[in-house]
C-alpha cells in the first residue's frame, strides 16, 4: 500500500524539495537531511532524483537521456518535464546541430556555445550577412594598413613589418567599430581572418612573442597582412568556352557547336 502511494507521488515534488533544500543550505546537504525532510519518500526514489540532477552533462540533458537514466516511463517523464517548464525551473533549448532534438537545462543558465553555435548564430540561424560584413571590415583594415606601409617608402623590411597587424589589433579595431551586438572574442576574429586567408586576400605568419605581451597566446602571436593576388585571371576564363555551362556537350556538327554558339556570338559583339 505504501508503495502504491509512493508511486503516485510525483517525482517532481521530490526534485523540487531537494532543490529547495539545496538552496536553503548553500554549503550542501547530506542525505540524512533530505530523509528527515521527506520521510515518506523511499530512498531509491530520492537517489534517483539526485542522480538525475547531478548527471547532466554541461548542465543540459536530452529527454531520451533522462529516460535512460531514471528508468521512468515516457509519459511520466513528459508530464514531469512539462510541469517543471511551467514552473519556470527548466527550459528547452533547440540545438543547432539537430533542430529536432530538445535539450533541457536549468532556467537561469546560458546555453553552451556548442549548442547555440556561438557568436555566429542567432536563434539557430547562421548569420551570413554579419560574417560578410565582418569579413569586409577586417580586409579593409588590413589593406589600408598595407597601403600606408607601402606609401611610407622606407626600407623594405620596415615596410613589410609595418604592414602586419596582430590578431589582437584587429580585434580591438572591430570592437571599437561597434558593428557587432554580440561580444566577440579573439578566436572569433581569428576564424574570420582564416576565411580571408582562404579567399587568398590575406596571409598569416606566426612569430614568437614573450609571455605577457598583449595578445599573445601560448608564447606566439599571429600576424596578418593584406596581399595582392599573384596572377591575373587566367587566359582560359577570358573566353566564353572557359565559363560555358554546356562545354562538354559542344562539338562540331552537333546541336551545340562553336559555329552556332550563342555565348560566342554575344561575346564577339561586345
Amino acid at each position: 500500500m505504501a508503495e502504491v502511494k509512493v508511486k503516485q507521488e510525483s517525482t517532481v515534488d521530490i526534485e523540487n524539495r531537494i532543490k529547495e533544500l539545496c538552496q536553503q543550505f548553500p554549503h550542501g546537504i547530506t542525505d540524512q537531511v533530505i530523509q528527515n525532510d521527506m520521510p515518506h519518500v523511499e530512498a531509491q526514489q530520492r537517489a534517483m532524483a539526485i542522480n538525475r540532477l547531478l548527471s547532466v552533462v554541461s548542465l543540459r540533458i536530452w529527454s531520451r537521456d533522462i529516460r535512460y537514466k531514471s528508468n521512468l516511463p515516457l509519459t511520466e517523464i513528459n508530464k514531469i518535464l512539462k510541469n517543471l517548464e511551467s514552473k519556470k525551473l527548466i527550459k528547452a533549448v533547440k540545438s543547432v546541430a539537430a533542430s529536432k532534438k530538445k535539450v533541457y537545462m536549468l532556467y537561469n543558465l546560458q546555453p553552451d556555445r556548442s549548442v547555440t553555435g556561438g557568436a555566429w548564430y542567432s536563434d539557430q540561424d547562421f548569420e551570413s550577412e554579419f560574417v560578410e560584413v565582418l569579413n569586409q571590415q577586417c580586409f579593409k583594415f588590413l589593406q589600408s594598413k598595407a597601403e600606408a606601409a607601402r606609401d611610407s617608402k622606407q626600407s623594405p623590411m620596415v615596410q613589410r613589418n609595418s604592414s602586419f597587424a596582430t590578431s589582437h589589433e584587429v580585434w580591438k579595431y572591430i570592437c571599437e567599430l561597434g558593428i557587432s551586438k554580440v561580444e566577440l572574442s579573439m578566436e572569433d576574429i581569428e576564424t574570420i581572418l582564416n576565411t580571408l586567408i582562404y579567399d587568398g586576400k590575406v596571409e598569416m605568419t606566426i612569430i614568437v612573442a614573450k609571455e605577457g605581451t598583449v595578445g599573445s597566446v601560448d608564447g606566439q602571436m599571429k600576424l596578418y597582412r593584406g596581399v595582392n593576388p599573384i596572377i591575373q585571371p587566367t587566359g582560359l576564363v577570358r573566353t566564353p568556352c572557359g565559363l560555358c555551362p554546356v562545354f562538354d556537350d559542344c562539338h562540331e556538327g552537333g546541336e551545340i557547336s562553336p559555329s552556332n554558339c550563342v555565348y560566342m556570338a554575344e561575346w564577339l559583339d561586345f
Binding site: 607601402r150 623594405p156 576564424t191 576565411t195 582562404y198 587566367t234 582560359l236 573566353t239 559555329s259 559583339d269
Partner: protein
C-alpha cells in the same frame, strides 16, 4: 594523344600547311608510326603527294623517321605541332629582346623550319630594307650581329646533322640498300656560329615587281643567289630552340608573379637572378644554380641603384615569403615550387570565375587542408550549411573536387563511413589542359566559320582594293577612285569592320588561352620529371 589534341593538331596543320598535309598528319597521329606505303594506302592519297607532305612535315621538324622492322617508319610529334599555336608569342619575345632584326629572323626561321644562316640574313635584310625609307638599306652586318646574339643566348640552334651510318646488318629485303640516316643526338657544337663571309647590303624590291606576282620575284631571287658567291655554310641549318623560349616564358611568369605580389624592385632582383642562371640551367631542372648576394649585386642593372644592405633585405623578404620562390640554401631558386604555385593560382582563378568567390574559398581551403569532412568545410569557410553543400556538389560534378571514402566498418555502410573532400592538383591540371585544347580548337573553328560565311564579301572587298591600287598606280582622277570606293555599300563596310573585329578578338583570345596552356604544361612536365 587525346581526341582534343588530335583535333587541335588537325586544325593547325590545315591552317598552316594545307589539306593534304592535314590528312596525312591526322592519320599518322591517330595510328602511330607508319610506313610510306601504308600511309598512302590508308588515306587513299597518291604516293607523290604523301611524299611531299612528309617532306613538308620533316622540314619543319614535326615528323621523325626511324628504321622499323620492315622499312622506314614515320611518326608525328604531336606536342611539336601544338607549339605552332605559340609562334606569335615567340616572335613577339624576339622582338622585345632583339628588336626588329631579331623578330624577322625568328619569323623567317619559323616559317621555313630549317634555314642556313646566310639565307636567313639575306632575306631579313631585304625585308628590312623594304620597310625603310627610300635610299637607305640595311647592312648585312647588323643582321648578322642580331643572329649571333640569338645564337649566343641559345634561342637558335643548329639542326642535328646526319650521323655516320653505323654498320647495319644487310637486310634480307633489298628495298633498303642504304642505311636510314639517323640524326646525331648530342651535338657538341650546337651553338657555334659558322665562319661565313657575307658582305653587302639588302636589296630593295622595286614596287613594280610586287604587282606582277611572285614568280618573277622568285626567279630573280634565285638568280641572285646563284650569282653571288657561296657563303661557306652549306649544310649547316638552323632551327628555333623552343625549350629556351619556354624557359624564358617561365621566367617571365615568375617575375610578373613576384611583381604582383610584392613590388617592382623585388621583381627586378628575381629577374636578374634568373637571367644569370639562364644559360647554365637545363630546361627541366628543378633548381637554378645557387648564386651569392655579391654576384647579384654586381649584375643588377644600373638603373636600380640600391645599396647592398637594402638588397640583402629584399632577398630575405623573398625568402620569407610564403609563396616560396626562393630557397636560400645550396639550391638556388626552387623552380618546381614556383611553377606549382603558378599552376595552383591558375586552378583557383578558373574556379573563381566559373563558380563564384565562395566556391573559390572552399577550393582554396581544400587545397590547403588536403582532406576535410563536410562539416569541417562549413565551419572553416563560414558558409551556411545548405549553400556549402550545394557548392561542394557543383564542384564535385565538375570533377574539380574528389571524394575519398574511409569506412569504419568492413561493410562500408554509408552511415558509418567518413566521406572526405579533397583536391588533387595534378589530375585537375591535366583535365583543365584538355579543356584548354578544346577551347582553342573551338575558337579556331569559329574563326574559320566566320570567314567562310563572309567569303563573298571578303572577295568583293579584295577585288575592289586591287582595282583601286591599279588605278592609283596608273594615275587616275579622284572622281574615278571615289566611284570605285562607293561600290562597297555602307552596311557592307560595317559588316567587314565587324568581321575584322571578330577575327582579331578570336585570334587574341587564342593567344590568351595558349598562355594558360603553357603554365599548365610546364607544371605537369616539371612534376613528372621530379617524380
Amino acid at each position: 594523344m587525346t581526341t582534343q589534341e588530335v583535333r587541335l593538331c588537325g586544325l593547325l596543320l590545315q591552317e598552316h600547311y594545307g589539306e593534304v598535309v592535314e590528312k596525312v598528319g591526322t592519320h599518322l597521329l591517330r595510328n602511330g608510326a607508319l610506313m610510306l606505303r601504308a600511309i598512302a594506302h590508308e588515306t587513299s592519297t597518291p604516293l607523290d603527294l604523301v611524299k611531299k607532305s612528309l617532306c613538308v612535315l620533316i622540314q619543319h621538324g614535326l615528323c621523325g623517321f626511324r628504321s622499323g622492322r620492315r622499312g622506314v617508319e614515320y611518326h608525328l610529334n604531336g606536342e611539336r605541332i601544338l607549339r605552332v599555336l605559340r609562334y606569335p608569342r615567340y616572335i613577339y619575345t624576339a622582338k622585345t629582346l632583339y628588336g626588329d632584326a631579331g623578330e624577322l629572323i625568328v619569323e623567317e626561321v619559323l616559317q621555313r623550319g630549317h634555314m642556313t644562316m646566310s639565307h636567313a640574313v639575306r632575306t631579313v635584310a631585304d625585308r628590312l630594307t623594304h620597310n625603310m625609307e627610300e635610299g637607305c638599306s640595311m647592312d648585312y652586318s647588323e643582321v648578322v650581329s642580331a643572329f649571333s646574339r640569338l645564337v649566343e643566348t641559345h634561342f637558335l640552334q643548329r639542326c642535328p646533322s646526319i650521323a655516320e651510318p653505323s654498320a647495319t646488318p644487310v637486310d634480307a629485303v633489298p628495298p633498303v640498300p642504304v642505311a636510314v640516316p639517323t640524326l646525331a643526338e648530342n651535338h657538341p657544337d650546337r651553338y657555334t656560329l659558322p665562319q661565313i663571309s657575307l658582305k653587302g647590303r639588302g636589296k630593295r624590291r622595286l614596287s613594280s615587281e610586287e604587282n606582277e606576282g611572285d614568280e618573277r620575284a622568285g626567279k630573280r631571287a634565285r638568280l641572285d643567289e646563284d650569282h653571288s658567291e657561296s657563303s661557306g655554310d652549306e649544310g649547316i641549318y638552323w632551327q628555333v630552340n623552343f625549350d629556351r623560349f619556354h624557359q624564358h616564358f617561365r621566367d617571365q611568369a615568375i617575375v610578373s608573379a613576384v611583381a604582383g605580389k610584392m613590388d617592382q624592385t623585388s621583381s627586378e632582383i628575381v629577374r636578374t637572378m634568373l637571367r644569370m642562371s639562364e644559360v647554365t640551367t637545363t630546361p627541366s631542372a628543378a633548381y637554378t644554380q645557387p648564386l651569392s648576394a655579391n654576384e647579384i649585386f654586381r649584375a643588377l642593372p644600373p638603373s636600380y641603384s640600391i645599396s647592398r644592405p637594402v638588397l640583402e633585405q629584399y632577398l630575405s623578404l623573398l625568402v620569407d615569403d610564403p609563396v616560396r620562390l626562393l630557397l636560400l640554401l645550396d639550391c638556388g631558386s626552387d623552380l618546381h615550387k614556383a611553377l606549382a604555385n603558378l599552376a595552383r593560382a591558375t586552378l583557383e582563378s578558373v574556379v573563381q570565375e566559373r563558380f563564384g568567390s565562395r566556391s573559390a574559398r572552399i577550393f582554396r581551403l581544400l587545397l590547403r587542408k588536403r582532406h576535410l569532412e563536410q562539416k569541417q568545410v562549413e565551419d572553416f569557410a563560414m558558409i551556411p550549411a545548405k549553400e556549402a553543400k550545394e557548392m561542394l556538389y557543383a564542384l564535385l560534378s565538375a570533377n574539380l573536387v574528389q571524394l575519398q571514402e574511409i569506412p569504419k566498418t568492413p561493410d562500408h555502410a554509408p552511415s558509418r563511413t567518413f566521406y572526405l573532400y579533397t583536391v588533387n592538383p595534378l589530375p585537375t591540371a591535366r583535365m583543365l589542359l584538355q579543356h584548354c585544347y578544346k577551347a582553342v580548337a573551338n575558337l579556331i573553328e569559329r574563326r574559320l566559320h566566320e570567314t567562310k560565311e563572309n567569303k563573298r564579301l571578303l572577295e568583293k572587298s579584295q577585288r575592289i582594293e586591287a582595282i583601286l591600287a591599279s588605278l592609283q598606280a596608273s594615275g587616275a582622277e579622284p572622281a574615278q577612285l571615289t566611284e570605285v570606293e562607293e561600290m562597297i555599300t555602307a552596311p557592307e563596310r560595317q559588316q567587314l569592320e565587324a568581321l575584322r573585329h571578330h577575327v582579331n578578338k578570336l585570334d587574341s583570345s587564342e593567344n590568351q588561352v595558349d598562355e594558360t596552356v603553357f603554365l599548365l604544361e610546364s607544371y605537369i612536365n616539371s612534376t613528372m620529371n621530379t617524380r
